[in-house]
Amino acid sequence: MPILDEIKNALADLNEDLALQLVRNALAAKVPAFDLLRACQDGMTEVGRRFECQEYFVSDLMMSGEIFKQISSILEPELKSGGARSAGKIVFGTVKGDIHDIGKDIVVNMLKSANFEVIDLGVDVPPEKFIAALKESGAKVLGMSGLLTLAFDSMKRTVQELESAGMRQAVKVMIGGGPVDANVCRMVGADNWGADAQHAVRLAKGWI
């Protein structure tokens, strides 16, 4: 359907006004909301591809997130009646002692646009809160973000708590944030680390 390609391309090109107008027009023309959502998700996948090719940058990811959020709000009333199947659940948060949230929010948005159900616990999240959310949601992936070096210790304690709770084998752990690197991943005991939001999406898709 040409309108779906147009929506996908408008979002991929970060043409905000055009993307929103096309979605509104399509809804008015009774195009199913799930098809429109799918087109937007395809657009976000293209955004991710351009980011990996270094054609797009973090600022473009944020802009795409803004457009996707607005489109999701438009489509939400139409989507509520159906039951879209999510790609899987992920618990995410910035660790205890750290209140930085922008990087985390970019990753969460990209995961959501890739159809993951993300339980976003916010910032300054202690280990027990991560564990409780994992138990309650049944999520098999945990993502932890941190920008301060004190975050390393919080990440490590969270992984230790996972082990104490007997959940470590069942849950994959990814970490990210400014000073995070392979050394930190090894020290924390995480399964992998991501340098950017797109990497987080790839890890999640590989694990779920």
Partner: protein, 429 residues
């Protein structure tokens, strides 16, 4: 967290305190001016490591200057840096103003937390017109009440431009200055001023105390503070989300706003230079590094404005100390445009071997030790990395060995000692 107090070690050093201090100053100056010192200097930002070394809470150090100064002395004696940094400012200013923007141990964070900035969209997109029409009026009557609880009364003030009516202004509006919310705001500003003055006096005392023992406290953060005009509009005003959408939604307004910012930065730097006699201007950069914005946007919104600020600072006799946060591997050619030997560059995650090749003859390079190595590395990894940095980035001088993140919090003391020893061993010229 209940760390045990650190064992106070003494390392061997040459000469008496005055001689050691002179040697350290010369070592740093030589590196800053792209000369080859006697050996590669180390620059250690102790900051939030201090409470861990002393086995107390961070809040306790922030609230007890004598304890904090003793902690600095202990750390300097243990690790023998050529230059070091202490705690970053005081929460007293934030407390006095009812600051909503920042968090400190004991103020928005638990007693073992570290200072953090709470980024929000403190300036909304529809504030641009008011900002551009009269930025001072907008900042005083709209912005300050938004971010400081104690300054809410400033919203009651008449338009600031009316003050140009002189006596006639006060004949009509003087009464507002007796209104309780305005009085409260004035008292909060006075209290904040007192807190800051106290801090400045404490830093003067700390510097004298450390120098009497042969140690050099850094001066970079006590000079003026400038920024990229783009970062000024982003950091404390539009936030990252806001500024990135502004580039697409209202680019001309963003550019116009950046032009407003530049003269403020330069006047502030001139005042610090001539009144406080500190020749440095600290410029932390946040949104211009690789990965954040495209080169096209960098060329339009970021670099020309930043370069103008840097060149104007150099022209007035100021030494810009630019913290190139993040990775700048793909933008080193821009740094190479700067006048040789006139700036100091602190690098976080840039490939310093590449940087040395591209700009080693342009600016002193500060950085090189990943914090993650001092947190979870092994002594042999640290020695190997130190050797590599001294041989490559240290070649010919112009290198000050510091950490990638300017805070040693969480780093293992024994690994910092390995780093210090290895630098003394491999860093000799």
């Amino acid at each position: 967290m209940n760390a045990q107090p650190a064992e106070r070690k003494e390392s061997p050093c040459v000469g008496n305190a005055a001689e050691q201090l002179a040697a350290r100053k010369q070592r740093i100056l030589d590196a800053e001016q792209l000369r080859q010192p006697d050996r590669v200097p180390t620059y250690m930002p102790f900051l939030n490591l201090l409470y861990q070394l002393e086995g107390v809470s961070n809040a306790e150090l922030y609230n007890d200057p004598e304890k904090a100064h003793q902690a600095m002395e202990n750390a300097a004696r243990r690790f023998q840096p050529d230059m070091c940094e202490s705690l970053f400012l005081t929460p007293g200013v934030s407390r006095a103003l009812g600051d909503r923007m920042t968090r400190w141990p004991g103020y928005g964070l638990d007693d073992y937390g570290a200072y953090q900035y709470h980024e929000q969209e403190y300036m909304k997109a529809d504030d641009y017109d008011a900002f551009l029409a009269d930025p001072s009026d907008w900042a005083i009557r709209r912005y300050l009440p938004r971010i400081f609880e104690e300054l809410g009364g400033l919203a009651m003030l008449p338009p600031m431009g009316l003050i140009s009516k002189g006596a006639l202004y006060f004949f009509g509006d003087a009464a507002v200055y007796a209104m309780p919310p305005i009085v409260k705001a004035a008292q909060a500003l006075f209290k904040a001023g007192q807190e800051h003055l106290q801090w400045i006096q404490q830093m003067i005392a700390l510097r004298k105390r450390l120098e009497a023992q042969g140690f050099l406290l850094g001066m970079y953060f006590e000079g003026s503070h400038c920024c990229a005009p783009f970062d000024h509009m982003a950091d404390t005003l539009r936030g990252m989300r806001g500024i990135f959408t502004d580039m697409r939604r209202c680019p001309e307004k963003l550019l116009a706003a950046e032009e407003k910012v530049i003269p403020w930065l330069l006047e502030s730097a001139a005042t610090v230079l001539h009144v406080r006699h500190n020749p440095y201007s600290f410029i932390p950069l946040h949104r211009g590094s690789d990965g954040f914005i495209s080169l096209a946007n960098f060329d339009k919104f970021y670099w020309p404005q930043l370069k103008r600020v840097i060149l104007a600072l150099i022209e007035m006799g100021v030494t810009p100390v630019v913290l190139w946060e993040g990775v700048w591997d793909q933008r080193l050619q821009y740094l190479a445009e700067l006048p040789k030997g006139k700036t100091i560059g602190i690098f976080q995650a840039t490939d310093l071997v590449k940087a040395k090749q591209a700009i080693g003859d342009v600016m002193c390079i500060v950085g090189g030790m990943p914090n993650s190595l001092l947190v979870g590395g092994t002594p042999s990894e640290i020695r190997e990395h130190t050797h590599k940095m001294c041989e490559t980035v240290g070649k010919g001088g112009g290198f000050i060995f510091s950490t990638e993140v300017g805070d040693l919090q969480g780093c293992k003391p024994e690994l910092i000692e390995v780093w210090a020893e290895a630098t003394r061993e491999f860093g000799k010229y």
